[in-house]
């Protein structure tokens, strides 16, 4: 399985014990979140909705690319990939 780093946004850092960056493994994005959920229970439901589809106000980027324009949650990962979880924020 590919070893990647995942950047956790502030609103989700409660789940990761205040960590802004965590290590994870997975062959694709969905796989990675499945594994991450074992490590940090609760993260899945923040990223996926009740129908197990990715929430539409959170974007997942592999390196600099939005997975919606790659293969979605099936986007393949390789060692060293930098995953960003970016939710919409509205403050001004």
């Amino acid at each position: 399985m590919a070893k990647v780093t995942v950047r956790i946004p502030t609103p989700l850092q409660k789940i990761t014990g205040s960590k802004g960056q965590v290590d994870a493994e997975g062959n694709n994005v969905k796989d990675m979140f499945t594994n991450l959920e074992k490590q940090y229970p609760g993260i899945w439901e923040r990223v996926y909705d009740e129908k197990n589809t990715l929430r539409r106000f959170i974007n997942i980027y592999v390196n600099e690319e939005d997975i919606r324009f790659l293969d979605g949650e099936n986007t393949a990962l390789k060692d060293g990939d930098d995953i960003s979880v970016i939710p919409a924020i509205a403050g001004g």
Binding site: T10, P11, R56, N59, S84, A88
Partner: protein, 271 residues
């Protein structure tokens, strides 16, 4: 050269000697009309720097009054203007800074009934609002009126900046097709915000506005700039136009402004 007054040549000297701005660019700035949505954390530096830069017409819309708790970050206001309308307080600041600027102070909410009418009088919109219904409203109104929307948003120690340019790049809905359900993303009021953060993010928005006006550099179109104040880190991610986007995609399903409070399931309380 244009017909600058001597005082203007003096005031804008540091711009005029920049090859990228020059007399021509300064003239463009003086003729430009920019609308700032919100005279809050982001709106403060946006209005201050655009006024200083000589952006000739500045519209500002906000419904709120200045509160003492705003002064930690909303630096266009001051202790003497607590209790006043934010748009009046902002207008007074701008007029003191630069008498060249015409200020349109609009006290009220941007809503589906007035958004198009207000926005069409301006060349560029700067979104410094603070809630999702307004974010989607501004986006759709800018797409429908073909106005660039210089977007900034902040949360605690993090900021996002991008330029949504209809026709040239993605829109806000391409980036975030749906708002978070109410309560899922805390507001600054609930979550707090570092006072300087909107200063950084709003200043970046002001830079992008000026680049668009003078037509120099690479505008932040199709790229999302993320700022992490705690890590002192800037990153850029690629944004793409979504061909299925309901407002700017190949087959749009939203062709006029909708009820955004209903769409977001929350009121637009804080603009």
């Amino acid at each position: 050269m244009s017909d600058f007054t001597e005082e203007q040549i003096h005031r804008y000297a540091r711009h005029i000697i920049l090859p990228e701005v020059g007399g021509i660019g300064q003239e463009k700035l003086l003729k430009a009309k920019v609308l700032a949505l919100g005279a809050g954390g982001l709106g403060s530096p946006v209005l201050q720097y655009l006024a200083a830069a000589g952006v000739g017409t500045l519209g500002v819309i906000d419904f709120d009054v200045v509160d003492m708790s705003n002064l930690q970050r909303q630096v266009i206001h001051n202790a003497d203007t607590v209790g006043e309308l934010k748009v009046d307080s902002a207008k007074r600041f701008i007029e003191k800074l630069n008498p060249d600027i015409k200020v349109n102070a609009i006290n009220g909410h941007l809503n589906s009934a007035n958004a198009i009418d207000i926005i069409k009088d301006y060349d560029i919109v700067v979104d410094g609002s603070d809630n999702f219904p307004t974010r989607y409203l501004v986006n759709d109104a800018c797409v429908f009126t073909n106005r660039p929307n210089v977007h900034g948003s902040i949360f605690r120690f993090e900021g996002q900046v991008t330029v949504f340019a209809p026709g040239d790049g993605p829109c806000y809905r391409c980036l975030y097709p749906e708002p978070p359900p109410p309560g899922m993303v805390p507001s600054c009021q609930e979550g707090g915000v570092l006072g300087v953060l909107p200063g950084v993010v709003g200043s970046l928005q002001a830079v992008e506005v000026i680049k668009l006006i003078i037509g120099k550099g690479e505008p932040l179109i199709g790229r999302l700039l993320l700022y992490d104040a705690l890590k002192t880190e800037f990153r850029k991610l690629t944004l793409r136009k979504d061909k299925n986007c309901p407002v700017c995609g190949d087959e749009p399903t939203i062709t006029e402004l909708i009820d955004y409070e209903q769409f977001c399931g929350m009121p637009a309380i804080e603009v």
